[in-house]
Symmetry: C2
C-alpha cells in the first residue's frame, strides 16, 4: 500500500539497526485518516470473505482494528495482556513471547465473545516473529472458530513471522512489507500488498 | 445519550454491587456502530471548540478515541501504561491510582507529540474516581497545552470523579451518567448528557 509505505519512509525512524519506530503515526500518535485508508485496503483484500469478528491484541492493535471494522460492519474483540492462565476461568489464553521485550505475556479473551460460529479476521499493527499472531490464532482454535485471514499493517519481512503463519495455512496480507532496513534505508518487498 | 443508556441497561451487568461490566459492547468486545454514534454525540457536544488532538489512555480508551477522532478530523494520542517515571526521559508522566485494582500505574506520553500549541480533548470509556482523567490532565499541563474538555462514555456519578474534574474547571460531558445501581438496578441521572 503506497500511502503506508510513504508514511514509513517519510515519517518512520530506524533505530538500533532493526527497530522501526512508527509511533508518530501508527502506535502512539495515531493518524486516523491513514487508518481509514488502511480499512479500505483491508476490505479490498478480505471483503470477499465471510467475516463476523475482528480480533486484535491490546494496545496498539485496537485503534486500527476499530477503524478497519467499520468497513466490515462487524465488532472488534481485543485480547487482553497480562491475564492469568485459563485453568478454571472463563478465558481462552495463550502465552506470547516478545523478542523485542524478552518477556512472555499471557493474552486472553472471554469465552463468551469468541464462538465456534465466528469467522475471524486478525488485524494487527506489526508482524515480526509472528508470536502475537500465533497467540491470537491459538485463541481462535481453542474457541473452535474459523480463521479467515491475518491483516497486518507493517511486516518485517526479514523476520520469521511470515513463514510461521504460512506454515499454519494462513491467508496473510500485509499492507507494507519491509525487505530490509540495513543502514537505516528501508526497502520494501514488491507486490506483497495486492 | 439514550442509545448508550439502552446498551447499558439491556446488555450491561452489575456485579459485586458497584462494578458495572460493559465488556460485551464497550471495552473487550467493541460495538463499532455504537462508537460511531458516540462520536457524533461528542462532536455535537464539543464540536464548537478548537480541538487539535484527542488524548486517551490505553487500552480500552483507544478504540473509542479513534472512532470519535474521525468526527473531529484530528489525530489520537494514547498514554501508555507502565512506563518509567520521567526523570531524564522524553516522556511526560503521571501516576494514576486505580481503586478497582488497588495499584498505582505510571502513564506517559512522548514529549514529541504533546505541544504547547495543542488544544486537547480527553476521551475515555469510564469516569469513576477520576484518577485516570486527572493523570491525563497532568500530562497536558506538563506540556503547556490547553485542555478543551473531557468526554466520557460512562460516568459513575455516585463516585468522586465529577467533583474532582469540576474543581479543576474542566468542561466535562458524559454520555451516560449512572446515579445509582443499588441492587443491580441502574438509574441514570437526567439531563447530564446534553
Amino acid at each position: 500500500m503506497k500511502l503506508l509505505e510513504d508514511y514509513i519512509v517519510n515519517r518512520g525512524k530506524v533505530i538500533d539497526g532493526d527497530v522501526l519506530k512508527v509511533d508518530m503515526f501508527l502506535n502512539h500518535l495515531i493518524d486516523v485518516d491513514l487508518l481509514n485508508e488502511m480499512g479500505k485496503e483491508f476490505h479490498r483484500l478480505f471483503g470477499n470473505k465471510k467475516i463476523t469478528k475482528i480480533l486484535t491484541v491490546e494496545a496498539s492493535g485496537i485503534g486500527i482494528a476499530c477503524v478497519v471494522a467499520q468497513y466490515f460492519s462487524v465488532p472488534v474483540l481485543f485480547a487482553k495482556k497480562g491475564v492469568h492462565r485459563n485453568v478454571g476461568t472463563d478465558l481462552y489464553t495463550a502465552d506470547v513471547f516478545s523478542f523485542t521485550k524478552g518477556v512472555t505475556t499471557t493474552i486472553g479473551v472471554s469465552k463468551n465473545y469468541l464462538k465456534p460460529e465466528d469467522h475471524v479476521l486478525i488485524i494487527d499493527d506489526f508482524l515480526a516473529d509472528g508470536n502475537a499472531s500465533l497467540g491470537l490464532i491459538s485463541l481462535i482454535e481453542q474457541a473452535g472458530a474459523t480463521l479467515e485471514g491475518v491483516g497486518i499493517a507493517v511486516e518485517k519481512g526479514f523476520q520469521s513471522g511470515r513463514g510461521k503463519l504460512l506454515a499454519k495455512g494462513c491467508d496473510l496480507k500485509s499492507l507494507a512489507v519491509i525487505k530490509s532496513m540495513d543502514g537505516g534505508r528501508i526497502v520494501f518487498a514488491d507486490g506483497e500488498d495486492s
